[in-house]
Structure formats: structure tokens, C-alpha cells
């Protein structure tokens, strides 16, 4: 099994520790992932801004970079969702189809490919889980509250398996945080207000560590937490899981 690590551009530049944790966690689970150095971005920022055509060279670059691997794993459901759903704009060559199917969010990969449902280790904190829309509603990694009241998903299962970890019961389990890519600046007012409301839900219900599997939402929420100087630590799930697994 040849596994490539895709580290989205903003993680590469601003959250290298998340890329490192992803790599190390995979290694502990027995997967030696390789980081092809020529990778850049999945093109989503452009496409979501209405410039899909300008993103096509980026899509092609992505496919060329990863077509030789069995799996492409990324600590970001949003990028994976984009590759799977929106690379339909490319000619559907065998390589393109392969890469679209091979792209996995890290937690999805751990859960469905490696079939790991629990991890040994302790994390004695109250953890608030932010369900990112693209992972949840897009990739169905957790149940949508629009469909069913069952509040379970891949990441909550993994987190609950850790000793001492208590998951925060939120008032709104899966409301969007308001990041939305370029939305966060083009609709900065609404975006901030959505983020503040999401953070307030965590504060109200006692979250000490705020986590999730999509760093873009967490970057936005962390920006709000730090601006308000709240006593909440924001960590990508890969950092928590990698930290507890020996």
C-alpha cells in the first residue's frame, strides 16, 4: 500500500505541527506515508470564488503529483471533498478517477481503510468536537442532524475511546463555524459572528480543548478564541491522537 500525505497549503505554512502529527500518527498505525514535495493545493479557494477555470492547472498538478499512490491522505476533509466532488471538471482519465477515489480525510482513512475504531491512551480533558461541514455533510463522516438525531461519527468514536476524555455536549451539534474559505473575508461580518456563536456554545458547555479534523475551521475558531483571550486550547485531532498513542 503506497500512501501519500497531502498537506494543504495553509497547514504547510501555518500549522506544520498538524502535518507532522498526521505523519507520525500514521506511522504509529503502521503506515509509512510519503510526502511528495511537488504538491501545492487542491484548488478549492479559487473554485469556491467562481474561478474554477483558473483552478484547472492546479487540479492537473494535483493529479500528476498523486496518481502513483494507492491513497492520498490529508488532515482536512474539505480538500478531500473538493478533490472527490469537483475534480469532475477534468477529463475523467484513469489517473483522475483513481486520484478522486484515493483521496481520504485522515480520520476517514483511519476508520474505514485501517479499520481502527479505538486507540489506547489517555486524554483527561473536556473536549469539544467541531464537526466540519465538508467532512460531515460532504463525506458523511458523521450523521447530519438534518437527517437523524443520532450523534455519532468516526472522530467522536475515536475520541471517546481515549481514557478520561469527556466530550462536550453542545447546544448545536453541527452548525457551521462560518469559515467558508474566501467567505471568511468576503462576508467577514457574518463569518466572524458565526464563529463567535460557535465558540460561545463551547464556552457555555465547558470545552477545554476544541478539536476537529479540519484545520481550516479550526484556524478560524482559534482566531476568535485568541482574540477574546479565552481559556480554550485549539488542537487538530491528529495532534491529540498522535500525542496519546505511544
Amino acid at each position: 500500500m503506497k500512501v501519500a500525505l497531502f498537506v494543504p497549503c495553509y497547514i504547510d505554512q501555518f500549522y506544520p505541527q498538524v502535518g507532522i502529527a498526521t505523519l507520525q500518527l500514521l506511522e504509529k498505525l503502521g503506515v509509512q506515508a510519503h510526502f511528495p514535495a511537488q504538491q501545492t493545493c487542491c484548488g478549492q479557494p479559487l473554485a469556491n470564488s467562481g474561478c474554477e477555470r483558473d483552478a484547472l492547472p492546479i487540479y492537473k498538478h494535483f493529479v500528476d503529483t498523486f496518481s502513483d499512490y494507492d491513497y492520498v491522505v490529508a488532515p482536512s476533509g474539505s480538500c478531500v471533498y473538493h478533490v472527490r466532488k469537483h475534480f469532475d471538471k477534468l477529463d475523467q482519465t484513469a489517473d483522475v478517477q483513481h486520484v478522486r477515489g484515493a483521496a481520504y480525510d485522515l480520520i476517514d482513512f483511519i476508520s474505514t481503510v485501517l479499520k481502527v475504531e479505538s486507540l489506547p491512551g489517555a486524554f483527561p480533558h473536556k473536549v469539544g468536537l467541531h464537526l466540519s461541514c465538508h467532512g460531515q455533510r460532504g463525506l458523511h463522516q458523521a450523521n447530519e442532524s438534518e437527517m437523524t438525531p443520532v450523534r455519532d461519527g468516526q472522530l467522536s468514536r475515536l475520541l471517546r475511546s481515549l481514557d478520561g476524555l469527556e466530550l462536550t455536549q453542545l447546544n448545536r451539534n453541527d452548525e457551521c463555524c462560518g469559515f467558508g474559505g474566501t467567505f471568511c473575508v468576503s462576508e467577514a461580518g457574518i463569518s466572524a459572528r458565526m464563529g463567535q456563536d460557535r465558540v460561545a456554545d463551547h464556552v457555555r458547555n465547558g470545552t477545554q480543548v476544541l478539536t476537529g479534523s479540519d484545520m481550516s475551521c479550526l484556524m478560524h475558531l482559534e482566531g476568535i478564541v485568541r482574540r477574546a483571550r479565552l481559556p480554550i486550547k485549539v488542537m487538530h485531532a491528529a495532534e491529540i491522537l498522535n500525542g496519546v498513542v505511544a
Binding site: 500500500m1 498537506v7 497549503c9 497547514i11 504547510d12 505554512q13 501555518f14 500549522y15 506544520p16 502535518g19 498505525l29 503502521g30 503506515v31 509509512q32 510519503h34 510526502f35 514535495a37 504538491q39 501545492t40 493545493c41 484548488g43 479557494p45 479559487l46 473554485a47 470564488s49 467562481g50 474561478c51 474554477e52 483558473d54 483552478a55 498538478h61 499512490y69 469537483h86 485501517l114 479499520k115 461541514c133 455533510r137 460532504g138 447530519e144 438534518e146 437527517m147 448545536r172 452548525e175 457551521c176 467558508g180 474559505g181 474566501t182 467567505f183 462576508e187 467577514a188 461580518g189 457574518i190 463569518s191 466572524a192 459572528r193 458565526m194 456563536d197 478560524h220 485568541r226 482574540r227
Partner: protein
């Protein structure tokens, strides 16, 4: 003016924004409980979507079937290509009656066609008889929601409005007393009404009848007291058979307000002896939308409003921020079809979270259509030039590994070295108005990785199950 600018105005009153958000979230939660309570809810959605897709695929045939059946029932059927024709037809019917007093129950179509100002201009008195509609009519405001037209108003606002227009006591905000005042006021209007106008929720091709769903019974009261009933419908309101109706009535009220069914589901099939019934069938841009394969499915909409209640943007920006008859996510995919330039910012007023798609009872792929409208707008140069050019620039940077690496290094260094006041200046950085920027690390992931002892590349992973 863009959605973002209008949204910022709404956001200025933070407490009111909280109240608006929580009020609509309450409706969304009621909807959830109602949906969870029906085990076959997802099958119903699938069925409703299928019936609508089928109907749209042969809309011309069903419309003709409907017209013939309605005419056989003794109903006058009129066809209107656009809003102007719709309004002219209605004025003509009213004038032939020599009538001047009109009672109207809720109809988004007549809002879309701006019927009220048109009739008033011609000396006709139009009274909206739905309570929410009447409130905003007094205030001369458009509806801010398609099911809850006055949801942007608090009971104190209604008290002020009724004090001015109905003479209730100043400062009265008791909902019971305010409703009673409206009831007394409307009763007189109902009795005086000469022509009743209603919308249509469903038009049944097989029977030629129309179905109107209300909670207040105002459509029945108006229609039964007046000598003439005019029902106005968009071409997409058709369903094939009477037996299909139950699928939709089970979904409509549950999705809209969490009720099992609307209080009144009124069937109007033929005129009472001695009275007249008219149906006006309106296109007004709908066939154009039908001709757009990517956006056709938007015509499946049954106007339940669930996508508004669930939309985290709508709840915090208010219906008026969309500046279109139908606000919220569905409005954002309908409006560019009508005027792409004017409504260019609406498809961008979304995080593409997808909640609207998941909540929609007829399974319209709303967030995918938002994404697709963005591409149409981008191609048509209807997005801000600065955005367009920065995206073109980014496209080139991100298609090249080397340029990307250099740019990243530069940005991080700048972020580390420049003073906080400059990197976070609100005028230069919209992100930083309410958020801190991430702390810039000294090395990127790729710089770190390059320094690691490299594994003999890409060995098969022995520990992983095949």
C-alpha cells in the same frame, strides 16, 4: 449593494441578531423533531423529489392537462408570460367586476410580481389577510421570509405598528391582544371583500383543482365571502395526481414549522354556483430556469422555508439582506436567473455548508447550485475584479511548486516581523477585524520534512491489512 454590506447593517444590532438567530433555530429544531418522528421521512423526500423531477420533465403536457381539467370545471384559465401580464390580467378581472376592494391571502408569486403597488396605483384597495403579511403591509416592507413574512419583527414592533394603524394602546405588546385587534380589523375587510386573491401551493393536473395551505384559514374566509376568486400560480406548482398530494402535505408543514400538517388544506376545484373562479398561470423567468440543466431542480421548490431556518447566514443577516422576494439559500439560486448583475453577491452569501440541501424536503441540491452559480458569475465577470485577479495570480502560484514555496516563506516571514497593528489593521485585513491571524511558524511543514531522514521511499506497508 452586496449582501455582505446589508448583512453588516443587520449585525450592528447584536442582540437583535441573537434573537433572530435563536427564533429561527427554534423553528429548525421543531422541524427536526417532526422529521425524526416519521420513520420514512427520507423515503418521502426521495419520493417527492422524484415526482417533481418527473413533472418538470414533461411540464408542458401536465400544464395542458391541468388547463383542460380546470376549464371543464368551469374555471377561467389565464396564461401570463411575465409579471406585467400577470398584473394586467388580474386588474382586468377586477375592473370587469367593477370591484375596488380586494382581500388577498398569502402568495409569494404576487409579491414577486409586485401586484399590490400595481393595483393600488389603479385605485384598488388590497388587503393582505395573513397576519404576518398584514403587519408588513402596514409598515410598507417586503416579507423577510416566505413562510414567516414578519419574522424580523418583535412583538414590540408589532405593537408600535398596530398603535399607528389600528389604534391599539401605546406600548401594547401582548400577542393575544394584538392578534385580537388584527382579527377585528380583518373581519370587516373580509366582509367587504369583492374579489379574493390567493396563491397556490399545489395544482393537480388530473383534477384541475388547486390546493392552498394556510394556518389561519384566511384563504377560505376570503374566497368564500367574495364573488370572485383569483388563484395565482407559477408553472412549477403542478403535480400530476391527487394521490401525489399526500406526499407533499406530509413534508410541507413538517419542514416549514414542525407541524404534522397545516391547519387548513383547502381544495378549490370549481366555482360555487353564481360565482367565478380564475386561475392565472405565470412563467416570469421559470421556463428560462427550466432550460438551465444545472439549475432546473430549483423549480422543485415547494416554498417551505426550511432552508432559510437552517441557514446560518440567513439567521444572522435577516431576509432583507438578500433584497429579493425569496430570500435565503433558495433565493440565492433563483435570483441570478432573474437578474445576474443585481444579485451577483447572493451565491457567495454562503459557506457551502450544505445544511440547506440536507433539510430540503424535495432534495434540491442547493449548495451545489450555489457553487455552480459562482462559476457562471465568474465566467460572466460578475465578481469583483480584485478577487478575479488575485485568483488568477493564485492559480499560477499554486500550479508551480517552486513559486508556491517562495511565496509561503515570504508571507510567514512578513507575518512574524511586521508589527501586530499592521498585520491586523482592519482596513487592510478583513480577517483581523474579529480574529487573530495564526502565529507564523519559523519553518513550514515541507521545510521540516526535507530535514528528516527520508524513508526508503514508498515501501509497501507491512502492518496494514490488505
Amino acid at each position: 449593494m452586496s449582501h455582505a454590506i446589508r448583512a453588516d447593517k443587520f449585525l450592528l444590532d447584536a442582540d437583535r441578531t441573537t434573537w433572530h438567530d435563536e427564533t429561527l433555530w427554534f423553528v429548525r429544531e421543531k422541524r427536526d423533531r417532526a422529521a425524526y418522528g416519521v420513520p420514512e421521512f427520507q423515503e418521502l423526500r426521495e419520493l417527492a423529489s422524484g415526482i417533481k423531477n418527473h413533472t418538470l420533465s414533461r411540464l408542458d403536457l401536465y400544464l395542458q392537462e391541468f388547463e383542460a381539467a380546470a376549464q371543464a370545471n368551469g374555471v377561467h384559465v389565464h396564461w401570463a408570460a411575465d409579471a406585467a401580464e400577470h398584473n394586467a390580467i388580474i386588474l382586468d378581472i377586477i375592473q370587469q367586476q367593477g370591484a375596488t376592494r380586494i382581500v388577498k391571502s398569502k402568495s409569494m408569486l404576487t409579491e414577486e410580481c409586485h401586484l399590490n403597488p400595481y393595483l393600488i396605483k389603479h385605485g384598488i384597495e388590497v388587503v393582505d389577510t395573513d397576519l404576518g403579511e398584514r403587519i408588513i403591509q402596514f409598515r410598507d416592507e417586503p416579507p423577510s421570509h416566505i413562510v414567516l413574512p414578519a419574522i424580523h419583527l418583535k412583538k414590540e414592533d408589532v405593537g408600535d405598528t398596530f398603535h399607528t394603524h389600528l389604534g391599539t394602546e401605546k406600548g401594547e405588546s401582548d400577542p393575544q391582544r394584538l392578534t385580537e385587534a388584527a382579527r377585528q380589523h380583518l373581519r370587516g375587510k373580509f366582509i367587504a371583500g369583492e374579489v379574493a386573491i390567493s396563491g397556490v401551493n399545489f395544482a393537480i393536473a388530473e383534477t384541475g383543482g388547486v390546493v392552498v395551505c394556510t394556518n389561519e384559514g384566511n384563504a377560505d374566509l376570503g374566497v368564500n365571502l367574495a364573488a370572485v376568486h383569483i388563484a395565482c400560480m407559477g408553472i412549477e406548482k403542478i403535480i400530476p395526481r391527487l394521490t401525489d398530494l399526500g406526499v407533499f402535505t406530509r413534508l410541507l408543514a413538517r419542514s416549514a414549522t414542525g407541524q404534522p400538517v397545516t391547519t387548513y388544506t383547502s381544495h378549490f376545484t370549481k366555482p360555487v354556483a353564481g360565482k367565478e373562479m380564475h386561475i392565472v398561470i405565470v412563467d416570469n423567468g421559470r421556463t428560462q430556469q427550466l432550460g438551465r440543466p444545472d439549475f432546473r431542480a430549483s423549480l422543485k421548490c415547494i416554498r417551505c422555508g426550511a432552508c432559510m431556518n437552517t441557514c446560518p447566514v440567513y439567521r444572522r443577516s435577516g431576509g432583507h439582506s438578500y433584497d429579493f422576494t425569496v430570500p435565503g439559500p433558495i433565493g440565492a439560486i433563483l435570483s441570478p436567473n432573474i437578474d445576474m448583475k443585481k444579485h451577483a453577491s447572493l451565491p457567495f452569501a454562503s459557506t457551502l455548508c450544505g445544511s440547506c440541501t440536507d433539510v430540503c424536503p424535495v432534495k434540491i441540491d442547493i449548495h451545489t447550485q450555489l457553487y455552480k452559480w459562482r462559476q457562471v458569475l465568474g465566467e460572466a465577470n460578475e465578481i469583483p475584479a480584485a478577487k478575479k485577479w488575485s485568483m488568477k495570480f493564485m492559480g499560477r502560484v499554486l500550479a508551480s511548486t517552486r513559486v508556491y514555496g517562495l511565496g509561503g516563506q515570504f508571507a510567514r516571514k512578513a507575518l512574524r516581523l511586521l508589527p501586530h497593528g499592521l498585520t491586523h489593521a482592519p482596513s487592510m485585513n478583513a480577517w483581523a477585524v474579529a480574529r487573530e491571524l495564526p502565529e507564523a511558524p519559523r519553518q513550514s511543514f515541507r521545510e521540516w520534512y526535507a530535514k528528516q531522514p527520508q524513508p526508503a521511499t514508498q515501501l509497501p506497508n507491512p502492518k496494514v491489512p490488505a
